[in-house]
Amino acid sequence: MMIRVKLFAAAREAAGAEQVELEFPTAPTIADVRRLLVERYPALEVVVPHAMFAVNTDYASDQTRLSQDDEIACIPPVSGG
């Protein structure tokens, strides 16, 4: 299953992309996405452990299981305001 992950701020800079695609044999969880992201983009190791993830624009837990059409985003610690 192909999962697209949106990247922001330091994560976008580390990976050098606004969005990356990850291929999984079966429906992954957010925890699986974290693991493969760091494996594919080692530079993300400084960000991903500290980041939250969003599924369809809501914060999601590591146990959340993903479907093909879900919109996934890596949300590094926020600093708005």
Binding site: K6, F8, A9, A10, R12, E13, A14, V46, V47, H50, A54, T57, D58, Y59, A73, I75, P76, P77, V78, S79, G80, G81
Partner: protein
């Protein structure tokens, strides 16, 4: 009024958007770009966001504030892109029948916004380096000029 904008924030427009004859108080908060963070000097700031989610989270903040306080008008506007020193990055206006509620709601909204809104700032330091601000991250990413 919930808005993300690349243009300078029109403080008067945000303020007047919450005026109402039922209100006895309006509290207006403006967050502005600061020159010194501890001893480091800032030249400018760049704000980036996840637009769809940021708008949704700001709308949720307004809805939650309305559950907690008797809010009449509520506007939250966040600036994006490049900001020079002294410019407003965020404006929050709240009107309520009595002032205590307006103060409390306004403070709660900016505190929650800083915790949950998917918005990030990058410090462009006066020494030419840039750095995304990610609170709690041991090594924040630094880019040399």
């Amino acid at each position: 009024m919930i808005e993300l904008t690349n243009n300078p924030i029109d403080a008067n427009a945000v303020l007047s958007s919450v005026y109402d004859h039922g209100a006895g108080a309006v509290v207006f908060f403006l967050g502005t770009t600061r020159e010194f963070t501890q001893e480091r000097q800032t030249d400018s700031l760049d704000y980036q966001c996840y637009p769809e989610m940021a708008v949704k989270k700001l709308e949720e903040l307004e809805a939650e504030a309305r559950e907690k306080w008797p809010v009449i008008g509520c506007s939250i506007v966040h600036r994006l892109g490049r900001l020079e020193l002294g410019e407003a990055s965020v404006a929050i206006a709240v009107s309520t029948p009595h002032r205590r509620d307006a103060y409390e709601a306004s403070q709660w909204i900016i505190d929650r916004l800083k915790q949950i809104a998917p918005i990030w700032k990058q410090e462009n330091w006066s020494d030419g380096t840039s750095q995304w601000v990610h609170p709690g991250m041991a090594s924040e990413t630094e880019t040399k000029p």
